[in-house]
């Protein structure tokens, strides 16, 4: 760049670019030559450099703790109103979950209760041993009646006992036993 092209107004216009090292080497050399011969532009350049140096030397200010604490206090107060949507969503979901859990527990409990109750109803079954015992008792009773009848021969003859009393008693006993063995048979008959 020719020196005659570098005027004071050109320097003023390009001084910032010069400070940022954004000029080409030829432009920078031309500007330096102009500065060496122009006290006004040199003073402008010096002031610019001193201002830049002063700005860069300004310290980073330390933020007082009270600012952070005050912000925290405001945030704590605002918390419920800041996150209404998120809180609502979480609450709705947890409430729905709790409701489903409670319903499941109630249903399971009811089913278990009825199943337990069903198991608790006793089945009226008579064992074979009990049956044999009962028959034996009946036979003994009949034998006893027969003996009594023989001893009082005048009152009831053996034939009568054998043909009338004994079959009737046997029938009655069987009927009772049948009923105990199978209660539904009784209903059918």
């Amino acid at each position: 760049m020719k020196d005659e092209n570098i005027t004071c107004s050109w320097v003023t216009e390009h001084l910032e670019a010069f400070l940022d090292c954004d000029l080409t080497s030829k432009e920078a050399e031309g500007l330096e030559r102009h500065l060496s011969s122009c006290p006004g532009c040199r003073a402008e350049r010096n002031l610019a450099i001193r201002i830049q140096t002063a700005l860069r030397a300004l310290p980073e200010e330390i933020c007082p703790d009270r600012v952070i604490n005050a912000a925290r206090d405001v945030i704590e107060k605002k918390k419920p109103s800041i996150e209404p949507l998120r809180i609502c969503k979480v609450r709705l979901f947890s409430r729905a979950l709790a409701l489903v859990a409670v319903a499941a527990i109630v249903i399971a409990g009811t089913i278990s209760f009825f199943a337990w109750r069903q198991r608790q109803i006793p089945e009226e079954k008579v064992s074979t041993q009990q049956m044999i015992l009962a028959r034996r008792q009946v036979e003994l009773t009949l034998a006893y009646i027969g003996e009594v009848g023989l001893k009082s021969a005048s009152a009831v003859s053996e034939d009568v006992v054998e043909s009338k009393v004994r079959p009737s008693l046997k029938k009655a006993v069987r009927k009772v036993l049948d009923i105990r063995m199978n209660p539904f048979k009784n209903n059918k008959t």
């Binding site: 700005l55 300004l58 980073e60 330390i62």
Partner: protein, 174 residues
């Protein structure tokens, strides 16, 4: 919210510094920082995982501009050492020669002059020269294209020089 606390711890001084150099007023800077942190909390789900510093710087700058607007409309309380910074925001306020004499330190004059230049030049000068951020970082933080950032920075520096010259800082030109 551990990562929120970490973000606050990491960037609190950057935000406060920007607020302070922007507003030139410690109490207002504290309020602006507090407001920026509250906004960060409110938008945390959106900001998390992105460039939190860029977001914070942009929001802090907006909060500071709100403070300036309130100050200009007369709502802000002006007191103590920050009186001259507040005076400077009144249009047509003549430079005080006594102040120029008293404030001999160039750094202090530069800091005060910074509060007298307009936006967006002010925040760009702060971010570039004080916080020494790259052009790319400033572009991301303020959402301004890179060539525009450069143009604004150059204008900002020029404005700063004019401010200092007006305030009698000619002695520094030598």
């Amino acid at each position: 919210m551990r990562d929120f606390e970490d973000t606050v711890a990491e960037f609190r001084n950057r935000i406060y510094s920007l607020s302070y150099y922007f507003l030139g007023h410690k109490e207002e800077a504290e309020d602006a920082t507090q407001e920026a942190l509250i906004r960060l909390w409110e938008n945390w789900n959106k900001v998390r995982g992105t460039n939190a510093l860029a977001w914070l710087l942009r929001v802090t700058r907006n909060v500071c501009m709100d403070v300036l607007r309130k100050r200009r409309s007369g709502h802000a309380v002006v007191s103590g050492n920050d009186f001259d910074a507040a005076l400077a925001t009144i249009p047509g306020n003549a430079p005080d020669p006594r102040e120029a004499l008293e404030t001999s330190d160039l750094q202090e004059q530069v800091r005060k002059a910074l509060t007298r230049i307009d936006e967006p030049y002010r925040s760009i000068v702060i971010l570039r020269e004080i916080q020494q951020m790259s052009y790319a970082e400033i572009t991301e933080a303020l959402g301004i294209p890179l060539p525009t950032v450069k143009v604004y920075l150059h204008r900002g520096r020029r404005m700063l020089r004019e401010q200092l010259r007006e305030r009698g800082a000619d002695a520094y030109e030598r």
